[in-house]
Symmetry: D2
Subunit: 132 residues, 4 copies
């Protein structure tokens, strides 16, 4: 799958002249949402069915800074999945150089209670596995 | 009433080393929310009653930049009110110097329909007038 | 010129489920930067020459809310220009419906002193006029 | 040392009605900056000396959501330090309940080259150790 592309905005940069580290966490979400969309299982669809997907944890490594107007190419893949949790791995590149790698782990809640993605949305679970 | 105080965060500053202009719009909201709170009519209370208060318009004048770690003192007053709309005027100062002035206009919606603040929340309307 | 397109991100939406009003100010900047870029006079180029372009004022009217995943089409045109200031007018649409209109006014500073865009960057000034 | 307190802003909350996870990364920075300040070694002072302190990595665990108007109490301590890197551990609580724990690792750069905090700023290094 083609990486998701995010062009760095002026308001995403800090006084050091580089992307503020908190914004990479937002890019991760953008890329994850877009990938789901491309796989035909958009976030709105899940929310419309009353399921939300909070972030349980994340890990980020910052290797190089990204700058205003640079295009960050973000690849997302499923790194692990259990009955109740899925984890995604991210790699962000600018002109081929890795600027950041990350991982996020999510659960799925319906009416405030954890649900198994595999049981609740088997079609989505199958689709997600394609991201591995 | 004492001005609301906001200490500028690193992540609120841009590559020019000053507060990004979009963030002043957030400071306006912060100050407005805090003032309502102090007057005993918090935003949560209005939302709990099913009323939301979208921003209809805003005008901002940026006079001087504010910098990281500076304390912005924000005063808010009611600048005008009609049956269906209220406007607030803001003045932001750093060490006594005005850095920004602004105005915002709001309506009130219940079940997606405009309501008169004066009729729906007479107590709140009275309290707001103290901000004039 | 084709409008600039911004797809609404999840993190740009607030508890009312719509784009937080402060983010439209960011979209204005994005669209302005992109237009300059397309006209061959990018923001980096101006900054590389030691000229910065602070926002002096802005006016925004919010007509309808925009939602997560909607594509906001933003058109920018030069609304007025004098020796020392330029103003841009913005119109944002979602599926053809206007969601927001705005105007921003800017000056140009070199070594902290105002410069005439027309004298300092005649080529840029000519290009800008094409946005009218 | 007293925890740093951050009152949750409306614009920090997402359509789920809770603090967007990316904002906790900003709260971490706020708390870290404030702690340095209280210890007499503010971020501006380090930057004035030409030293910057990029984030190398971070790890976050999200345990409970925080909501609009809640006060997040953030404690920061030095979790480890070597010649070239320091790591901070964070714990965030709302009304006594842990909502999030995190760790961040930083290096120090002068003219783009890594410097030993212990050698370059022995006084600061000593002060930091008090946060352990």
């Amino acid at each position: 799958m083609e990486p998701y592309r995010h062009k760095v905005k002026y308001y995403e940069c800090d006084p050091m002249g580089v992307v503020h580290h908190s914004n990479y966490v937002r890019f991760m979400e953008e890329a994850r949402v877009e990938m789901m969309d491309r796989l035909g299982f958009g976030y709105e669809r899940m929310e419309a069915e009353g399921v939300i997907s909070p972030v349980l944890s994340l890990t980020c490594k910052f290797l190089r800074p990204a700058h205003f107007q640079e295009v960050v190419e973000i690849s997302v893949r499923l790194s692990s999945s259990t009955a109740m949790k899925v984890s995604f791995a991210y790699e962000m590149r600018v002109e081929g150089n890795v600027v950041m790698t990350a991982e996020s782990t999510h659960c799925f809640l319906e009416n405030g209670r954890p649900v198994s993605l595999e049981k609740r949305f088997p079609e989505f679970f199958a689709v997600l596995s394609e991201l591995r």
